[in-house]
């Protein structure tokens, strides 16, 4: 089903200062798609890699999100934050990919075969694997918080949820993550 661009537009990210009030974290001047691509590729890959645990899958998801942005660039490029829109597409794609992967793993487990394709290791995967074990929305909110220093307002706009809900997700997610890491190794 084709996603309605009007729907995305309603949830777009507004330009807001970061928590320190000094640096503008949302998209800088990305007038052309090429500039946008070059500027956003690595941050998006960082987000996708941390949330999927696989670099190859993260790269695929980034390309998928970038293709969506490119196809609608006349509209998306005019948004206050094309990056916010693209992140939402990326997170949505990551959700679908995780669901597919979960099903694939169950199928592999049933057939007794293992997916032993070598994948580049995620640095400090102990931390990120605990993050991925959080409920999906919590994991996304915490990843945006730690990886991109996103404010509650920005996270709410990207995830298309209320700011109060983001605060709850962040609090519960961070606490659960801290406790999981503590149980794992004595201290986060």
């Amino acid at each position: 089903v084709e996603t309605s661009e009007r729907e995305w537009e309603r949830g777009r990210v507004r330009r807001v200062p970061d928590r320190a009030g000094a640096v503008e974290l949302v998209d800088p001047d990305c007038a052309s798609f090429d500039a946008f691509y070059r500027h956003e590729y690595r941050p998006l890959l960082r987000l996708a890699w941390s949330l999927t645990g696989r670099r190859d899958l993260g790269e695929e998801l980034v390309q998928e999100a970038m293709i969506s942005a490119h196809q609608r660039w006349a509209k998306v490029g005019a948004y206050d934050s094309p990056g916010g829109w693209t992140r939402r597409v990326l997170l949505h794609a990551a959700t679908s990919a995780a669901r597919r992967r979960s099903a694939e793993e169950r199928a592999l487990a049933r057939t007794g075969t293992a997916d032993d394709a070598p994948a580049p290791r995620l640095p400090d995967d102990a931390f990120w694997s605990h993050l991925r074990a959080l409920p999906e929305r919590q994991a996304q909110a915490v990843a945006l918080h730690y990886l991109e220093d996103r404010s509650v307002t920005e996270i709410a706009a990207i995830l298309d949820i209320a700011e109060g809900t983001v605060k709850v997700h962040l609090h519960r997610g961070r606490l659960a993550l801290a406790r999981a890491l503590q149980d794992d190794g004595g201290a986060p």
């Binding site: 089903v1 084709e2 996603t3 309605s4 009007r6 729907e7 995305w8 949830g11 798609f33 090429d34 691509y37 070059r38 590729y41 690595r42 890959l45 960082r46 890699w49 941390s50 790269e59 390309q63 970038m66 293709i67 490119h70 196809q71 949505h92 959700t95 679908s96 669901r99 597919r100 979960s102 099903a103 169950r106 995620l122 640095p123 400090d124 931390f127 990120w128 409920p135 999906e136 929305r137 730690y146 990886l147 298309d160 961070r174 606490l175 993550l177 801290a178 406790r179 890491l181 503590q182 201290a187 986060p188």
Partner: protein
């Protein structure tokens, strides 16, 4: 360690993890953007599609005219009954998905089911095209367009998607789950895999000549994070389930 100290320690650990990830990502070369892949398929294939449509229309018109002359009916086509609201468990069939059709090369809906919600109508159809079968969804209203196309059986390999197929897609307004389930199923529900909670009942349509049914359900977006299972109940009380994800031959 109290909560505040725990969170402070987490912030420090997260900062270290982020630095390590930053280094790994910074070492990577940004690949060139694949513009060709980003072209809208309809743009890339428009010339070929237009040519194909013209050829199909001409051949179709010639065939229909010839058949109408032979049989004395307007189109010369046998009618394909479409029913909604329940499966026909009395049809003959085995556990495998068996679909009618003689592979005569024309698009033909074998069954269709639709759901209307918030002014838009979402439909799922099982289409026979060139002897293969596809599950096709389309939307009318504010988000008009054709969506999923899932092959059910390939004529080239003869492979059949076992006896079950399901697929999902979502947009900013809801999640669509459509597919085929059977045999002998007449009630289809979408269920939370973890809690067993029934989230919604699907609309169904029978497929003539098959013991399977076509189903379609639209769920609110807040179900998106759940692990969903489609559960069909047979007339004998047995449950048949399949995960709500695409399963292709």
């Amino acid at each position: 360690m109290n909560e505040s100290d725990l969170l402070d320690a987490l912030d420090r650990r997260a900062a270290a993890a982020r630095i390590a990830l930053d280094r790994a990502v910074d070492d990577l070369t940004v690949p060139p953007f694949e513009r060709r892949a980003a072209e809208r398929p309809w743009r890339r294939w428009t010339p070929a599609l237009v040519a194909a449509v013209v050829v199909v229309a001409l051949v179709g018109a010639a065939l229909l005219t010839g058949r109408a002359d032979e049989s004395g009916t307007i189109a010369g086509e046998p009618e394909t009954p479409i029913t909604e609201g329940g499966g026909d468990a009395s049809a003959d069939g085995t556990g495998d998905l068996r679909l009618p059709g003689d592979g005569d090369g024309r698009d033909r809906p074998l069954a269709e089911v639709s759901v209307t919600e918030d002014g838009r109508q979402v439909s799922a159809s099982l289409i026979e095209a060139d002897g293969a079968y596809e599950l096709r969804t389309s939307t009318t209203g504010p988000d008009a367009g054709t969506g999923l196309l899932v092959p059910v059986r390939s004529t080239s390999t003869g492979a059949v998607a076992r006896d079950l197929i399901s697929t999902t897609a979502s947009d900013a307004r809801g999640e669509l789950i459509a597919g085929l389930i059977g045999p002998d199923v007449d009630v289809v529900d979408v269920v939370d895999a973890e809690t067993g909670e029934v989230l919604d009942g699907a609309s169904t349509a029978t497929i003539q000549g098959s013991k399977h049914v076509l189903f379609l359900v639209i769920l609110p977006l807040d179900h998106r994070d759940r692990d969903l299972v489609v559960v069909g109940r047979t007339t004998g009380g047995e449950e048949i389930s399949l995960p709500a994800y695409a399963s292709e031959p």
